[in-house]
Assembly symmetry: C2
Homo-oligomer: 219 residues x 2
């Protein structure tokens, strides 16, 4: 069993709760309200800065050119496709400029942003990978629940968010990330423990972030 | 006058010697021998690792998402176009595997690689930009000498190396880099001096690198 699977299993409760979250259920069956989707996307978009920086740090910290080039290609795609989805949805959902650039951040958003910037500051490849891997793998897992594209919801605002995390390139990228993470498992026990703690915190925050997305209008 | 122009003018002798180097003359008129082109490309390819890492560090160190995304797009393009040119030329020029992956490095190559890794290690955005700016701007300047594409040499091994550094996207990227560099000119005198020294060393090494490319077969 690799390091990645070991850590996912250690965090199975939070992982499964996130992957099978009611927010995901509603996204997959197309019943998610525009209000909930808007709040979720407004908060999620605020990760773009730290997430892009983290991918850049992965390019800088990777141990070889082939690995650097994988992140370089992902960065290139991320800079176009994913940003386009956000802008299209923001327009469709009438998101005001202030909520695109500087919304009030929820606590889960702040915590996740801090986790990304902490990993960035370490410049440690395994630490950076831990955060990237959780974010990408967990999203791949919930998007895989969508099954065949013919069963996806009809609106692009739902279907495109699924497609971005459920397509052959994305799946190959997640598999590559997992293999890369396994390959740099720290031999040092303390370093390994730090990476495991980062992984666990990222999983916990993914779950909390989905909780927050549905909780906004309940409170 | 901006910081970039000021530093280029301070290093005009090395800058102009590199831009108007006999190596460039021969590349532009298509008289460059395969032997010299091969030696040059074999050495130049060894920068790909540090240069890619440096672009990644720029993504990580940039002060805003729009700036990060510029480097992200350049990284995406670099990971495909530029690498393709090298592989095509290596095949055409019968470059052996060992010379693609681990050639004997010339002293100019080692020095430039060290400069890039030193800038990378600082994580300082102006330091990282100084090296990137010299590399890209100086190459844009020599490639601009090629004039109209109808006057370019006929062989792809020459013309494609010109095209990669002389096209509207490339020129816009160099202009953006220069503006970005001007915008982060350090207010602190010591920091400004360090950036200026990095810029000067990069220009000196660009000239030395062209010298080395023609000197190999003379010695």
């Amino acid at each position: 069993m690799g390091f990645a699977i070991e850590l996912r299993d250690q965090n199975a409760e939070d992982w499964d709760a996130a992957v099978n979250h009611p927010f995901v259920d509603q996204l997959l069956d197309g019943s998610l309200s525009d209000e909930d989707l808007r709040d979720y996307l407004v908060q999620d978009y605020q990760f773009c800065d730290a997430f892009t920086a983290l991918l850049g740090q992965a390019v800088a910290s990777a141990p070889s050119l082939p690995s650097r080039l994988v992140f370089a290609r992902v960065l290139g795609a991320f800079a176009s496709d994913e940003n386009t989805y956000f802008q299209d949805c923001f327009n469709e959902l009438d998101v005001q400029e202030i909520d695109r650039t500087a919304p009030v951040l929820g606590s889960a958003t702040r915590d996740f942003d801090n986790l990304m910037r902490s990993a960035l500051a370490t410049r440690s490849y395994p630490e950076v990978l831990a955060v990237l891997l959780v974010a990408e793998w967990l999203y791949g897992d919930w998007a895989a629940r969508a099954g065949d594209p013919t069963e996806w919801p009809v609106h692009a605002k739902h279907a495109e968010w699924i497609r971005l995390h459920n397509n052959p390139e994305y799946n190959a990228w997640v598999t590559w990330l997992r293999d890369e993470f396994d390959a740099v498992e720290p031999a040092d026990a303390a370093a390994r423990e730090r990476v495991a703690a980062t992984f666990a915190e990222a999983v916990r925050l993914e779950r909390t972030f989905f909780d927050a997305a549905l909780a906004v209008h309940v409170s």
